[in-house]
C-alpha cells in the first residue's frame, strides 16, 4: 500500500503525471529543483522560492548569538508567538520581540537574555510564557549557569513574564517542573474564565528529588510516581498569575493500571523505522473549540478530550512504522484530519539527503473520525538537501484558504514549505522558500524552526539567521482569490499550538476562491462556472437592494447546479458563500 507513496509524492510535488513505470528516479526529478545547489552562506546564502517571496528579514541581534560559532546551541532561535504588531521569538538564550508594523522592515523592539533553552513562547494579554529545560537555567535569568548539581538557583519549567511594559518584561512567576519544559501549550477554556492552563511537555532527564521534591526518573515498573509517562498541567489564575502552579500530572499514556501503556520503543519489523518509546509528549496542539488536543508523544500520536482541561483523557492513539519520534501535530479546521510530524534525527541531523526516504522524517496525515485515526499519505520537502543542512519535518500551522487544507511548515535548513493535504492520501507541495546551507563544509544547526501564517503573512523563525517574513504569490496551485480569502482571517493574538476555528466572513474573494478551485479540479462544468463568475462580477458592481437580490438569485441558481457537479460539496460551499454575501448586504 505505502510503497506507492514515493511516486505519488513526487507526482504531487511537481504537478505532473508520472507514468508509474517511468524510469524517473526521485533523484533525477529532484535534481532539477531550484533548491538544489544553492550557494552556501550565513547572511549571503543563495535563495530559491516558488509561490511565495521573502519580503522582510530581521537579522539575529549580536547579544543573541555567538559570533565565533554560528551553530552554538546556546543561542538557537526557536518558536514564535504573535500579538498585535508584535512577534515574540523564543531563543535558547531568552527571547526577542519584533515590531512588524512594516513587514518589509521588522524592527527589533527588545531582546531579553535569560538562558535555558528551548524558549518556547506563548502570549496571552500581558502575560508571556517561556519554556526552560536545561540545567543551566537560573531562577534569576543569569547567564552564568548553575554550578552545583543540586541548587535552589536552578530553574527548569515555565517562566511567566508580565509584559505590560514591553521594554521591561518582569518575571512574576517561575513554575518548576521535574523534567523542565521542552514545550508548553496554552489552553483557554471558555467555561473557566478565571484561569488559563498550560500543558507542559518535559523531555529531558528528571532532576533530583533533592532539588525538587517528588521528582523521579525511574521506569514505570520501578516507581508508580515517576516523573516520566505524564504531562504537567499548570493553572494560571488570571487575577493572580503569580500564583500559577501545577494542578495535575495526567497519566495520558495509561492503559488500565499500566501508566506506560503505549509504544514500548523499537522497530515495527523488517525495514521499518525504530520508534522511541512513549514516556513523554514533545508537543501538544490544542483545539479548544472542538474540546480536543493532539499530542505528538515520542512513540505515538494521540488525541485527547480536553473538555475538562485539568484532566485530559486519551481517546485515540496511533503508531507509524516510518516514524522515529512523534514531534508535533496540527488539526485541519474541521478537526477531521491530523498532520503529525516525525523529527527523525532530532533536528540536528541532515535527514533530507537524496538517500533519505521521503516517508522518514516526514509528515504523516491521518483522518480522524469519532476517535478513530486512519493513515493517509506522507509529505516531505521533495528537494534533496546537503549533508551540512540539518533537515526534517518541524513546526507549522494552517493557512486559512477556504475549501482546502493548507499548511505552512518549517524544515530547518530544508527551508519552509506550503502544502495542501485536502486529500489525506495525496499531500501536494504548493509553495516553498529555501536557502543554501550555512556552510558547505560544516553543519551549523540552523534553518526554519517554524513557519506560521499570521494576518496575511508567513512568519518563519530562522534558528541562526533571524526572522523571515514571506508573502504568498499566486500560481496555478494557489490563486490570488484564494490568497485574498486567506487574508480575511485576522487575529489580535496567536499561539500556533493553540488552534482556533477559522470562520470566513462574507466576501467576494471567498466565493471566487471556490470558483478557482472548481476550475482547477473541473468540479463543475466550465461553461457553468464561467456563467457564475460573470454573474458574481456583475453582482459586485451593483449596490443596495439590487445587489442583495442578485446575490440571492445567484445563490439559488448555484444551489441548482449542485446535483450535476462532480464536486458537489464545493459547489454547495460556493452557494453558501454567495448566500452569506447576500445576507451581509
Amino acid at each position: 500500500m505505502r510503497s506507492a507513496l514515493q511516486n505519488r509524492h513526487l507526482r504531487a510535488a511537481f504537478g505532473i503525471a508520472l507514468v508509474a513505470s517511468a524510469a524517473i528516479t526521485s533523484n533525477a526529478v529532484a535534481q532539477s529543483d531550484p533548491r538544489v545547489g544553492l550557494k552556501p552562506g550565513i547572511n549571503d546564502a543563495g535563495e530559491a522560492a516558488k509561490g511565495m517571496e521573502l519580503v522582510g528579514h530581521g537579522m539575529k541581534p549580536d547579544n543573541m548569538q555567538n559570533a565565533s560559532n554560528p551553530g552554538d546551541f546556546g543561542f538557537l532561535n526557536s518558536d514564535l508567538a504573535f500579538q498585535g504588531k508584535f512577534v515574540f521569538q523564543g531563543s535558547f538564550n531568552g527571547f526577542q520581540i519584533w515590531d512588524v508594523s512594516n513587514v518589509t522592515k521588522p524592527a527589533l523592539r527588545m531582546t531579553f537574555v535569560c538562558p535555558g533553552g528551548q524558549g518556547d513562547p506563548s502570549v496571552y494579554g500581558h502575560l508571556l510564557f517561556i519554556s526552560v529545560e536545561e540545567t543551566r537555567g537560573r531562577v534569576d535569568c543569569g547567564a552564568q549557569g548553575v554550578t552545583d548539581s543540586v541548587s535552589k538557583d536552578r530553574f527548569r519549567g515555565v517562566r511567566i513574564f508580565d509584559i505590560t511594559d514591553m521594554d521591561h518584561p518582569k518575571q512574576i512567576a517561575a513554575v518548576q517542573t521535574c523534567r523542565g519544559s521542552h514545550t508548553h501549550t496554552l489552553v483557554v477554556n471558555k467555561s473557566d474564565k478565571n484561569n488559563l492552563y498550560l500543558y507542559v511537555s518535559g523531555t529531558a532527564p528528571a532532576r533530583s528529588p533533592s532539588e525538587l521534591a517528588g521528582c523521579s526518573g525511574k521506569d514505570a515498573t520501578d516507581d508508580a510516581n515517576t516523573s516520566r509517562f505524564r504531562i504537567d498541567v499548570i493553572q494560571v489564575p488570571l487575577a493572580a498569575p503569580q500564583n500559577a502552579r501545577i494542578v495535575s500530572n495526567p497519566r495520558i499514556f495509561a492503559t488500565g493500571t499500566n501508566i506506560a501503556g503505549l509504544w514500548k520503543g523499537g522497530n515495527h519489523g523488517e525495514g521499518t523505522q525504530t520508534t522511541s518509546g512513549t514516556d513523554q509528549c514533545h508537543d501538544i496542539t490544542v483545539y479548544a473549540e472542538m474540546g480536543l488536543a493532539a499530542g505528538a508523544c515520542s512513540g505515538n500520536g494521540i488525541v485527547l478530550d480536553i473538555k475538562d482541561p485539568v484532566h485530559p483523557k486519551r481517546i485515540a492513539e496511533v503508531s507509524d512504522p516510518n516514524f522515529a519520534y512523534w514531534h508535533s501535530a496540527t488539526f485541519s479546521n474541521d478537526a477531521k484530519k491530523v498532520v503529525y510530524t516525525d523529527e527523525w534525527g532530532g533536528g540536528t541531523q541532515p535527514k533530507c539527503q537524496s538517500t533519505d526516504k521521503l516517508t522518514w522524517g516526514a509528515d504523516a496525515i491521518f483522518s480522524l473520525d469519532k476517535g478513530k485515526m486512519t493513515p493517509g499519505g506522507y509529505f516531505k520537502v521533495p528537494a534533496p538537501q546537503t549533508a551540512t543542512e540539518n533537515c526534517v519535518a518541524h513546526n507549522g500551522m494552517l493557512i486559512p484558504v477556504p475549501g482546502r487544507d493548507i499548511m505552512a511548515q518549517g524544515w530547518y535548513q530544508g527551508g519552509l514549505a506550503v502544502f495542501d493535504f485536502t486529500d489525506v492520501s495525496h499531500p501536494v507541495e504548493i509553495a516553498y522558500f529555501d536557502r543554501g546551507p550555512m556552510s558547505a563544509d560544516k553543519l551549523y544547526i540552523s534553518g526554519e524552526w517554524a513557519a506560521y501564517w499570521y494576518n496575511g503573512n508567513v512568519y518563519a523563525s530562522e534558528i541562526g539567521r533571524g526572522l523571515d517574513i514571506l508573502q504568498l504569490k499566486p500560481t496555478d496551485m494557489l490563486s490570488q482569490n484564494e490568497i485574498d480569502a486567506a487574508k480575511l482571517i485576522t487575529s489580535t493574538e496567536m499561539n500556533p499550538q493553540a488552534q482556533t476555528k477559522i470562520v470566513w466572513p462574507a466576501s467576494f474573494s471567498v466565493s471566487r476562491a471556490y470558483l478557482d478551485q472548481l476550475g482547477r479540479n473541473s468540479g463543475l462544468a466550465s461553461d457553468k462556472a464561467s456563467k457564475i463568475t460573470a454573474d458574481l462580477d456583475a453582482a459586485e458592481k451593483l449596490s443596495g437592494g439590487a445587489q442583495k437580490s442578485a446575490l440571492n438569485k445567484l445563490a439559488s441558481s448555484i444551489q441548482g447546479e449542485v446535483k450535476g457537479a462532480s464536486d458537489q460539496a464545493r459547489v454547495r460551499a460556493l452557494a453558501e458563500s454567495v448566500k452569506k454575501l447576500a445576507e451581509s448586504k
Binding site: S68, N69, D72, F73, G74, L76, S78, F92, G117, Q118, E133, E134, T135, R136, G145, V146, T147, D148, S149, H182, T203, A204, P205, D219, K264, G265, G266, N267, E270, T274, S276, G277, D279, H282, Y325, H327, E343, G345, G346, G347, T348, Q349, H394, K442, L443, I445, W449
Partner: protein, 219 residues
C-alpha cells in the same frame, strides 16, 4: 527540536586516559589568552564525557560487528543494525564538539585494542579505573566472540544491557558533577543518550525474555 543524539555505548580505557590528559590541558587553558578562551575549551567533565563516549561507542561497534555471523534472531540483528547506523553520526557529532572546543579527538575507536592508546605519563594513569561503567573486558569480548547462536544472543543482550546501563551511569555522573552539562549542546546530547539508552535497555530486556524470532537474513 528534541535533543541531539542517540543510542549506544561503549568506550575504552585508552579514551579515558585521553580524557584525563585533556582535562589537564583544559586546566592549563584556563590560563590561556582571552582570545583562545573566547572560543571555549569546554568544561573538563564535559570534555572527558565526550572523549570517553567516543570510545564507549567504539566498543559497542565492536560488539555489534559480531552479530551478523553469530545471531539466530532477526530482532537482535535489527537492533544491532540500528545501533551501528547511529554510530557514525554520533561519533561525528562528538568529534565536532571536541574540535569546536579545541580538544583532542580520540583515535578511531574501531581500530582500538586495549593497548593502542596514546602514551600517558605514569602518575595520571594511576588514578584511572581500568574500564568505565558497563564496559567489557577484553576477556569478555573474546568470550562473546567465541559464542554462536542462542548462546551468543543471550550473551550479547546481557552484555549490551550492562553496557547501556554503564552509559546511564556516565550521564548521571556527568549531571551530578558541579559545573557539567551547562552548555546547551552537552545538555541535549546527554539527555538524548539517557533517553535512548533507557529505551534500548527496556527493549533488550524484553528480547531476553521473548521467544526468538527467526533470523531469515543472517548467516
Amino acid at each position: 527540536m528534541h535533543g541531539a543524539l542517540h543510542h549506544t555505548i561503549a568506550r575504552h580505557a585508552r579514551s579515558i586516559r585521553a580524557g584525563i590528559r585533556m582535562a589537564a590541558i583544559t586546566a592549563l587553558l584556563a590560563h590561556a589568552p582571552a582570545s583562545l578562551r573566547a572560543q571555549g575549551t569546554g568544561n573538563p567533565a564535559d570534555v572527558a564525557f565526550m572523549q570517553g563516549m567516543i570510545g564507549h561507542h567504539g566498543q559497542a561497534l565492536r560488539m555489534t560487528s559480531l552479530v551478523p555471523e553469530r545471531t539466530t534472531r532477526a530482532d537482535v540483528r535489527m537492533l544491532a543494525e540500528k545501533i551501528e547506523a547511529s554510530q557514525l553520526g554520533e561519533i561525528t557529532t562528538m568529534k565536532r564538539w571536541l574540535a569546536d572546543h579545541h580538544q583532542e579527538i580520540p583515535a578511531d575507536p574501531m581500530a582500538s585494542g586495549p593497548h593502542t592508546g596514546m602514551q600517558m605519563s605514569g602518575n595520571m594513569k594511576m588514578d584511572m579505573p581500568a574500564l568505565m561503567p558497563g564496559m567489557l573486558t577484553e576477556q569478555e569480548m573474546a568470550q562473546l566472540a567465541a559464542t554462536k547462536g542462542a548462546d551468543f544472543d543471550k550473551q550479547f543482550l546481557t552484555f549490551m544491557i550492562r553496557h547501556h546501563e554503564g552509559a546511564l551511569t556516565m550521564v548521571a555522573r556527568l549531571l551530578g558533577t558541579a559545573g557539567a552539562a551547562q552548555e546547551s549542546q552537552m545538555f541535549g546530547f546527554s539527555s538524548d543518550v539517557d533517553a535512548d539508552q533507557r529505551g534500548e535497555i527496556k527493549r533488550m530486556r524484553a528480547m531476553l525474555n521473548a521467544p526468538a524470532q527467526k533470523n531469515t537474513r543472517g548467516k
